[in-house]
């Protein structure tokens, strides 16, 4: 097991190297660089631009810049953000909790709703409920996240029931602890909806299909024959078997915890990592972009690893290490 985990983590190294190399190359191909907006300002002395360019190493070819950056990263230094003059790790640390909280809320929200709905749709297959939920699910799947977010912005602006943007209210710092919780929760409602609704639909459809498969399995007949109550058959035996394939979906959900909310954060002005990353890409603040990309990539690998481990744990038929 440990050897398997180590092997999987080792694959991360070439992956990260390749991805960062690609990002560096793409950013060097993009027009302009971090200093371009500064060049467009009328009262910046040419000597200053020259001096900053040398300081940042922007006058060197991209592969030299990459080599230097790599050297720093290997020593555990992700570099300084050029725009913020703050170590990249600190900058990400400032924002990571907001995004994590939002993604987790969306995750809990969508799974908590999708699984029961999927089960009900399977149990009452072909009923009105099943049909309606199918239509809604397809509708939800086909609406892009950012569009849903825009609709929610409009909704919030029209009704005034929910705050527009931000993660806290103006008087947040002066609220009691309970008030802080409520305030955060209030600000989380719309982003959570925007982020969660799409995955409700997909998880629900997967759950329904799995459940239907398991209902046709032989052990269901056995269980019924033993005289178990229908409820026990469904919820204790069928459900446990049907939930297995969702474990791999869980791995994917995990991987998007820190990087999946970019669109929603931008449209709903939620101050998280996605916003920071987007601004950094626009500004060409290289080291921040690289660190965010590495973070997203590592989360993907870790998420998949987690899914595999969970699968092995929950399903005795799966063995991670094949014996020769």
């Amino acid at each position: 097991m440990i050897a398997f985990i180590l092997r999987r983590l080792l694959t991360l190294i070439p992956l990260l190297l390749g991805i960062t190399l690609l990002v560096f190359l793409l950013m060097s191909l993009a027009p302009g660089d971090f200093l371009t907006p500064v060049r467009a300002q009328r009262d910046v002395p040419a000597e200053l631009i020259q001096a900053i360019q040398t300081e940042f190493g922007l006058d060197q070819p991209w592969y030299v810049q990459y080599y230097k950056w790599l050297g720093n990263v290997l020593q555990g230094n992700l570099g300084h953000s050029w725009a913020f003059k703050v170590p990249v790790a600190d900058l990400i640390g400032q924002r990571i909790w907001s995004t994590f909280l939002l993604s987790l809320c969306a995750f809990v929200f969508s799974w908590a709703i999708a699984i029961p709905l999927g089960v009900l749709a399977a149990v009452y297959k072909d009923s009105i409920f099943d049909r309606v939920s199918a239509v809604l699910a397809y509708a939800a799947l086909s609406i892009p996240e950012f569009f849903l977010a825009l609709v929610l912005v409009f909704f919030a602006a029209q009704t005034g029931w929910f705050p527009l943007g931000g993660a806290t209210s103006i008087d947040y710092d002066y609220l009691s602890f309970g008030g802080k919780m409520l305030d955060r929760a209030h600000h989380l409602v719309l982003p959570t909806l925007a982020l969660g609704i799409g995955s409700i639909a997909s998880i629900m459809r997967i759950m329904r299909a799995n459940f239907l498969d398991s209902m046709r399995a032989g052990f269901v007949a056995t269980a019924r024959a033993k005289g178990l109550r229908e409820r026990v058959v469904m919820f204790k035996h069928v459900l446990r078997n049907a939930i297995n394939p969702l474990v791999s979906a869980f791995g994917f959900a995990f991987s998007s915890l820190l990087s999946g909310a970019l669109m929603v954060e931008i449209v709903l002005q939620y101050p998280g990592l996605g916003q920071l990353m987007y601004q950094s890409i626009l500004r060409e603040d290289q080291f921040v972009v690289l660190a965010s990309v590495m973070l997203g990539c590592s989360m993907l690998v870790l998420g998949n690893l987690l899914a595999d481990i969970l699968l092995a744990w929950s399903d005795p038929r799966i063995r991670l290490e094949r014996k020769k």
Binding site: V108, W111, A112, S176, L276
Partner: protein, 657 residues
């Protein structure tokens, strides 16, 4: 709300108790949940794990800010007595304690004035730090600020400033001439060899500076540093290497830094990393200043909160310390449009409104009880220019095709284009009459420097055609051909993210079609444009705008002088390419060299006249400015130069409970 501010420390303690009770109520919720027999045990334990994880994150997010490691405690502010030399502000006496809510466009990147490059950042820093002199928001003259008076020596080389006595920094430390000297030291500190102690120099033989800030190079006068010395605790003297008229405004307008806070960082080389946003989050009280506010809290991407500086040096006519306002809460919004939306919904107190948004913002005036004012012409300008760079690229190809270069460098061609533009049409069609015709380099907002006696280019298609014909061009039907039978056509680039500019370019294309010139429009990303006009030079014509800039004409030297980095049509020339550019260089040097305003004005008038005759810039229009404020504010006296909040310290409002 006010009570809660004072009880901040008790709130932190309450948090501990509250957190426990919240944890308990969560547990109670799970117990209650287990009575609903809808899921198996396994599922319930999954969801309870998820829920408790969620609760833990929420707890961490709410509580985290208060007890993160390494965070020192906010010190109790030391309030010093009102300074002997306090400035008495002559506005009606008001009520203390109201809060201002406003928006900042785009997140701020730093609070360190040596690092800052953004407008939002300057706004924030301008709230906290202050300068020796400032500009009169009504007349545009230089007036006393932290310096109560100054003398300029006979030879116009020495400036002696007398500082206000008894002024204290926001943390209660005294402000003296040492702080002024220290501030200038940071600009010109040199890198020295650690072994020999000698100043290190770059390849060009010029010294390498320790802290490359905008002021390091911007405050040099023709490559030489002004000298600063402290005569006594409250007197500083600056010596400029040559007569340099804008020094009073540019040098005197420098934000003064606190030596007692920043000296250690200056010594150990970390000055540029000070006062970052991490400081703003963890220890905002370390950012001390002399202006009317201090930073209280900063939440990344969300907002900044400023509290009144308890040691501010302005008082009202009754001798009470200003400002009236307790706090300024600045919400961070992505752009000007969202900022205008927030104001139009009555959420913010003061706002600048773009000419394209003013119509719908006005609709809310009664409902949300605010006023929208026409502030007159803005300092922004819009113009077109042709690439007049005769150079060649790396492959030896000329930047501009030689036959087109011949057209562009003929002033009659540029004049003909200028006569062919229907500026009234642009104002009507694009700006809905919320703009003015721009005749020259100086926007009519800068009344003092504006020269109206220059050649103007009204919309006259006949004159335009006549000028083309004078150059030997001929019309075949509606289409214009040059003397060698080549179709007269060029490509105009402009940035795609500016809607007004895109519309102006479209009108321009139609206007040009009417005089037989075929214009192809290319809307590009801003970075691409900047690269093209400042580095690659592979373009024919470009439309851009300039906004703001310091009010002294010498601030435009990089644009107007032929060696300048921003000499749009042909930047960084070794020697002036044309006689008229040589003349402008000469005149601009005189503008910088003389201190008598009338003499300077005469030189600068000639610069404007040459620009109008030669049309290297084909100016279009200047948009109007609009400002709005909620009617609950008193003492609001907007001026075109100072905007609505120039007298922020005197603005007050009844405190609503």
């Amino acid at each position: 709300m006010k009570e809660k501010f004072q009880l901040l420390s008790t709130v932190v303690i309450d948090c501990e108790i509250a957190r426990k009770s919240v944890e308990q109520s969560f547990r109670a919720a799970f117990v209650g949940g287990s009575m609903l027999r809808c899921c198996s045990y396994r599922i319930r334990s999954y969801s309870s794990i998820a829920f408790s994880a969620l609760a833990a994150v929420l707890l961490a997010a709410c509580g985290g800010a208060d007890d993160s490691p390494g965070r020192s405690v906010r010190p109790e502010p030391i309030v010093q007595p009102i300074p002997v030399d306090a400035e008495v502000v002559d506005f009606s006496v008001g009520e203390f304690g109201a809060n201002i809510i406003e928006t900042i466009e785009g997140d701020v990147a730093t609070v360190n004035p040596l690092v800052n490059e953004s407008v939002g950042g300057s706004l924030v820093i301008g709230r906290i730090l202050d300068s020796l002199v400032t500009m009169d928001p009504k007349t545009g003259e230089v007036i006393p600020n932290l310096a109560k008076s100054w003398e300029i020596s006979e030879d116009n080389l020495q400036y002696t400033f007398h500082l206000r006595k008894g002024v204290h920094w926001s943390d209660g430390e005294p402000f003296t001439a040492e702080d002024v000297v220290f501030t200038w030291q940071t600009f010109f500190a040199k890198q020295s060899d650690p072994e020999t102690g000698e100043v290190m120099t770059g390849e060009d033989g010029r010294p390498l500076y320790r802290y490359n800030s905008r002021s390091t190079f911007g405050q040099q006068i023709n490559g030489q540093e002004p000298q600063v010395e402290m005569l006594d605790d409250f007197t500083v003297r600056f010596t400029t290497p040559e007569v340099y008229a804008p020094f009073l405004l540019f040098g005197g307008g420098v934000d003064i830094l606190p030596k007692h806070i920043l000296y250690d960082a200056y010594e150990d080389g970390t000055l540029m990393d000070q006062w970052s946003l991490q400081t703003a989050i963890d220890e905002p009280w370390k950012i001390v200043g002399l202006n009317m506010f201090v930073l209280e809290t900063y939440r990344p991407g969300e907002r900044m909160v400023f509290a009144r500086n308890p040691n501010y040096w302005k008082v009202n006519t009754q001798g009470e310390r200003l400002p009236y306002v307790d706090r300024v809460i600045s919400k961070i919004v992505p752009d000007g449009n969202s900022s205008n939306v927030a104001f139009a919904q009555g959420q913010t107190d003061f706002e600048f409104i773009g000419p394209d948004n003013v119509a719908w913002v006005r609709r809310g005036e009664e409902r949300f009880d605010y006023t929208v004012l026409d502030m007159g012409p803005s300092s922004s300008t819009n113009f077109i220019w042709f690439n007049l760079n005769p150079g060649k690229n790396a492959e030896g190809e000329p930047f501009v095709a030689p036959y087109k270069f011949d057209w562009f460098s003929d002033k009659r061609f540029r004049q003909a284009i200028s006569y062919g533009i229907n500026r009234e049409g642009i104002i009507r069609g694009v700006f809905f009459n919320r703009a003015d015709i721009l005749n020259g380099y100086v926007s009519p907002k800068r009344k003092f420097w504006y020269n109206d006696e220059v050649r103007k280019y009204p919309y006259q298609v006949e004159r335009s055609r006549a000028l083309f014909q004078e150059m030997g061009f001929e019309y075949r039907g509606q289409e214009l051909f040059d003397a060698n039978g080549r179709r007269v056509e060029f490509t105009l680039i402009t940035n795609s993210n500016n809607g007004l500019r895109v519309e102006m370019a479209t009108v321009f294309k139609e206007n040009m079609a009417a005089i037989g010139v075929d214009v192809e429009l290319q809307f590009l990303d801003f970075n691409t444009i900047v690269t093209k006009i400042s580095d690659a030079f592979d373009y024919e014509a470009c439309m851009l705008g300039l906004g703001g800039g310091a009010p002294d004409p010498y601030a435009g030297k990089d644009i107007l002088m032929s060696g300048g980095r921003m000499h749009f049509w042909y930047p960084q020339q070794q020697s002036p390419a044309t006689e008229w550019e040589a003349r402008i260089d000469e005149l601009m040097r005189e503008v910088g060299r003389h201190t008598e305003v009338e003499v300077r004005k005469e030189y600068f008038n000639e610069v404007q006249a040459i620009l109008a005759e030669q049309q290297p810039f084909i100016f279009l229009v200047s948009a109007k400015e609009y400002a709005g404020y909620r009617n609950r504010w008193h003492n609001v006296e907007p001026t075109p130069l100072g905007g609505v909040t120039w007298n922020l310290e005197s603005l007050w409002s009844e405190v609503s409970e």
